[in-house]
Symmetry: C2
Subunit: 369 residues, 2 copies
């Protein structure tokens, strides 16, 4: 169905009619000039992020439902990274002409899945047309008690540097998706060349045979065997809110925290810069899944670079006092990767063979071996 | 300067280094995963709006500074329309390749002007590239005591319908801008045709003369004489927060309120729908500036339609108990335009000659006279 058949108000009504707030802090959600929220015993956290088609996402890899789930998780992840609980989400969409009502329905299905997972209410937003592509802006609002909020600037010398889950997988998932896309386009190009040649030769029999081949190419199935985890990490990232409860239950309060969107190196440098300190992390301690390692080998890429600079992991990176060492050890899927130093000691990675390399907040470098 | 010379973090530092929060509710602004706000004695209001190049704005009419001022005012206007005070703003920008650092500087200059006017703090945002054009999303956060918040749904039978300022001027300003743009393009086209003809005729003397004419066309000055107010209303709208204080001082609490972005008819229908009531407004009472009236005549457009459906006025539309009639009368620049009825009586305009026309939340219809 074309969006103009419903109109802006019709579309908004369709998308919001089944939204029923679950949070006490949501006094008034969708339907007025502004949402009304009640945060009288905690601090309010607000974070906004923009996602542009062709820059942050490629709709040849990801469908509308997964895209919505992903961008919602990314935005909620910012609230978790303050040690807060996300409560409300505001959704702005700029929709190019090719988008139908069904696409927007799918997008909202993905949003609702993400919001249900973390008990977040959709409380407003804006829908407009766009001259090109899809533009998305999400604003997530959350809460935390004043004494619970963890900033980037609280790391102290001797603190342990910890990270949840594993790193580099989402980036290697993207490499797989890009490879399969180029395999597909190569098949299409080869097919088109064969057809052109047969047409030149007026070879009717050959053209008939090629028509049969066409279905096979149209039904192209990307090969993700043995890479399922990587694809999942790229297309369906999860915000790591569950670790906040585990830390709280273990009596641990991080001294600084950030979520890993641009890669471990970049985020660790943010913490060090804001906290006026340095750091050492150990290459051997960086948590990496075996699918990530195997795929790096296959692509002849440097595994540590993928983990340091790949990005899109959305794991939590945080520091804790050194006295919490044993408590952290007991929590599954949290790894201690290094420690905080004085600022003048700089930010370095210690490699397996004991060399020190300065951390750079830069993008990917292909292994030249 | 190219944006890539600074990089994302460099650009953010440049734009935010001079931001100094002025509100007590701003605990932590730019620089972490989320802004931290303190709203422990009032309700929090949040509203988000997206603006896409070519849809909501045209950079051939408006420069970056005015654009920023305008979108900031529009977003703040949503908080005023809840009878609240805007306090914080979060800014997301998707920047096409043609935008330079200086363009973003100008944009922030406009934002800062708007924020200074209403004591609003910029507390965060996101900056990304865009494959085409400029995408803007603003989220405004504000506050109001619970008992002060005015929703769209509180209008009651016999309430008076009031509107601030005057209507239709921003729309007529847009007509002027579009006319001047087409005059300019027509001059360019005629010039190009003359050059082509001279080239065909190999008339060197004529070509020389035409080269002199070129400067005049490049220095084209649009003719806004006598339309300054309309241009101002289109390019530099003001949110109407000052009326909220005046109403409070006069002891008036509106029963319902909305700001006029899509035109009086559309917004009044929102109030009636949410409040389950009908209305009558008088054509003769709709406030219209003389420049708006004169320009409608010049363009052969229906003045009442411009005021009802033109939009972009950002005036406040509200209802008050009938007992407040005299108090309202004393406030300058607030006009009583009609009254609220039972729902089954519908939503109608009473024309100067006493006819009733149903209000339609539709766009512009050119006068067929």
């Amino acid at each position: 169905m074309e969006i103009k058949e419903l109109g802006e108000f019709g579309l908004i009504n369709r998308l919001t009619k089944d939204i029923h707030p679950v949070n006490n802090s949501t006094i008034m959600g969708v339907g007025d000039d502004a949402a009304v929220l009640h945060y009288t015993d905690k601090e309010t956290l607000v974070s906004s992020q923009m996602f542009m088609e062709g820059v942050q996402f490629d709709l040849t890899y990801i469908d509308m439902e997964h895209l919505a789930y992903k961008v919602a998780m990314i935005t909620m992840s910012n609230i978790f990274a303050m040690n807060g609980q996300p409560r409300q989400l505001i959704v702005s969409l700029g929709l190019g002409k090719r988008f139908k009502v069904e696409d927007v329905d799918q997008f909202y299905a993905g949003l609702n899945k993400a919001c249900t997972k973390w008990n977040v209410d959709i409380v407003g937003g804006d829908t407009t047309s766009s001259y090109t592509g899809l533009a998305i802006n999400l604003t997530c609002i959350g809460e935390a008690a004043k004494e619970d909020i963890v900033y980037r600037n609280g790391a102290n010398e001797t603190d342990l540097i910890c990270v949840t889950g594993d790193l580099g997988a989402a980036y290697m998932g993207l490499q797989i998706l890009e490879r399969e896309k180029s395999v597909y386009y190569q098949q299409v190009e080869e097919y088109n060349n064969k057809v052109k040649e047969a047409q030149r030769n007026k070879d009717e029999k050959r053209l008939e045979a090629l028509r049969m081949e066409r279905a096979a190419i149209e039904g192209f199935q990307p090969d993700f065997a043995g890479k399922e985890y990587l694809i999942d990490r790229q297309l369906k990232p999860e915000a790591r809110g569950e670790f906040l409860n585990q830390l709280r239950e273990a009596g641990i309060r991080p001294t600084s925290m950030i979520d890993i969107s641009d890669g471990l190196a970049s985020e660790l440098k943010h913490i060090c810069e804001k906290s006026h300190c340095g750091c050492r992390i150990y290459e051997k301690n960086i948590p990496i899944d075996y699918q990530t390692a195997a795929t790096c080998e296959e692509f002849n890429m440097n595994l540590t670079t993928a983990a340091l600079n790949g990005g899109e992991d959305y794991e939590l990176l945080f520091t804790v006092p050194i006295g919490d060492h044993e408590k952290i050890d007991k929590i599954e899927n949290i790894k201690q990767i290094g420690y905080i130093t004085k600022e003048n000691l700089g930010t370095f990675l210690i490699t397996r063979d004991g060399n020190e390399f300065e951390l750079k907040a830069q993008g990917w470098v292909v292994n030249k071996n």
